[in-house]
Amino acid sequence: MRVIMSNILAIYRRELQSYFASPLAYAIAGVFWLLSGFFFITILSGITQQVAYADSAGYSSPIDVPYQFLQFFLGTLGSVALFVLPILSMGLYAEERKRGTLELLATSPVTNWAVALGKLLGVLTFFTTMVLPLLIYEAIVFSTTTPPFSFTVVLLAHLGLILLAAAILSLGMFISSLTDSTILAAIGTFGLVLFLWVIDVLGQKLGGPFGAALGHLSLLKHYNNLTQGILDSSSLVLFASYIVLGLFLTAQSINAFRFQRS
């Protein structure tokens, strides 16, 4: 067990290091921060203007500004992540295959699971560091609200974002293990994730128990639950299932790749 942990940690550190040494990763982080900053400002000013307008018009029903803002902002971040995450995950295995380093990993006393888990944790950590600065300016804004806004809700919402990211990255890692072209991996992941994002629309169209079951697979639906501060165990189970499924399929696909390659 200690050996496996040590292996996971070794893969994790290597992966993380490669992100912090990669210009592509910095470019992605830069674009992500730029977009999220832009949305932060527009959503915040949009809501405050709305409130000012409602006040001046004399509407009596109050608007929960921090809550609404959080929901809008995290919803937007989820959409941005939809584009950013496939680019982060595309190289996880495709690069290893292209460089031939998969042959090193596959002939070292490390299980496919440990490699996949280490890699997933590495890329997830990088994404988390991308999200952390946003928490700082959210904290600044929320600290000015009266009555004070519960920071647990904020943390829960961001945990939702991280879970969503983990699910997408895990599936993206699997797609990346299928090819040695990073572009193909990114496009494939984007397609799959977009499909899972809106699958509840398809479920509603179909109706019946099958449609309902499809609706439950939707990433967007469960993500929205978490950003609203609803800690639904079914959402956690769904995200965890996607993560485990991605890891499992990755481990299997690496095995199959070695067995079938010609």
């Binding site: 292996n7 550190r13 490669s18 990669s22 460089r99 031939g100 380093t101 002939t107 006393p109 010609s262």
Partner: protein, 337 residues
Amino acid sequence: MIEVEHLSKVYGSTPAIEDVTFAVEPGEILGLLGPNGAGKTTTMRILSGYLPASAGTAKIAGFEVHEQSMAVRKHIGYLPETPPLYTDMTVEGFLHFVARIKGVSAGDRPRQVQMAMQRCNLTEKSHTLIRKLSKGYRQRVGIAQAIVHDPPAIILDEPTVGLDPRQIAEVRSLIKSLAGDHTVILSTHILPEVSMTCDRIAIINKGRVVATNTPDNLMAQLTGGSGYELEVEGDVADIQSRLIVFLQGLPGVKLAEIVPTDLPNHHHRLRVIAEQGTDLVGRDIAATVVGAGVGLYEMRRSQATLEDVFLQLTTEEKPLDTLTDPDDVEPSAGEAA
């Protein structure tokens, strides 16, 4: 240390290797020699546990490479055809990483990494990014990652490919220095490489091992050892009907023949090869030539080279029966890398 028995690998319907059998004793260096596409890389990949075999068994340190893959992986160092390098890491960082996933304990790691860098002459480049290294240095990093955990068996697939002559010499002496403590199997298509570095050679062609022996024995067995080369002057019919017949009558002569050349008129080159285990006496040959009334212009001893052996084994359809059963060596249908 390494036992390979009746190993076969089929890609789809194309056989890459068929019924490959050989063994490597502890501390020995075995060279797997063969033309490109003979199945060397496939054999290496199966030994490293990267590819499963279609049939047959391969054992390293007593562990079956596929069934006890994890145990085998701890006992081998493997340099694939293209060195597996994370180009965004420094040499030292990369070797630390490899040592770690190969299961070297934290306390031993710095010492092992230093030793591997020293052996491969990488110490001065330890903090350089692998991306910035030349091909020769990258190849050395590839070898360093194969020995960093001090494995009992080392598998090197084309370790000197793409290096300049000086680097080749360095890598060869490095490989030789590994013998004794380590069992080494290396593949190559370069002949001098095996004769210089290896204790034994397995020649592989079209997926089959056609000969296994020490370099000296291989040459001796296949060509009957030494012989003489002569340049003579005379009528070709005369030489054919008289001199060749006389020469073949000498004791210990296995073969006497005219070698086609573009020598000037009436000059011909002859080859006289000794029976296995015997030594020809040059005086007898010279006396026969002179006695036949043929002018003798040049005469020198010739030693068959490994090149001759290799060409003979890999280009002729029928190998010599002294080595292998003739049924075993029909040219196979296909070949794969």
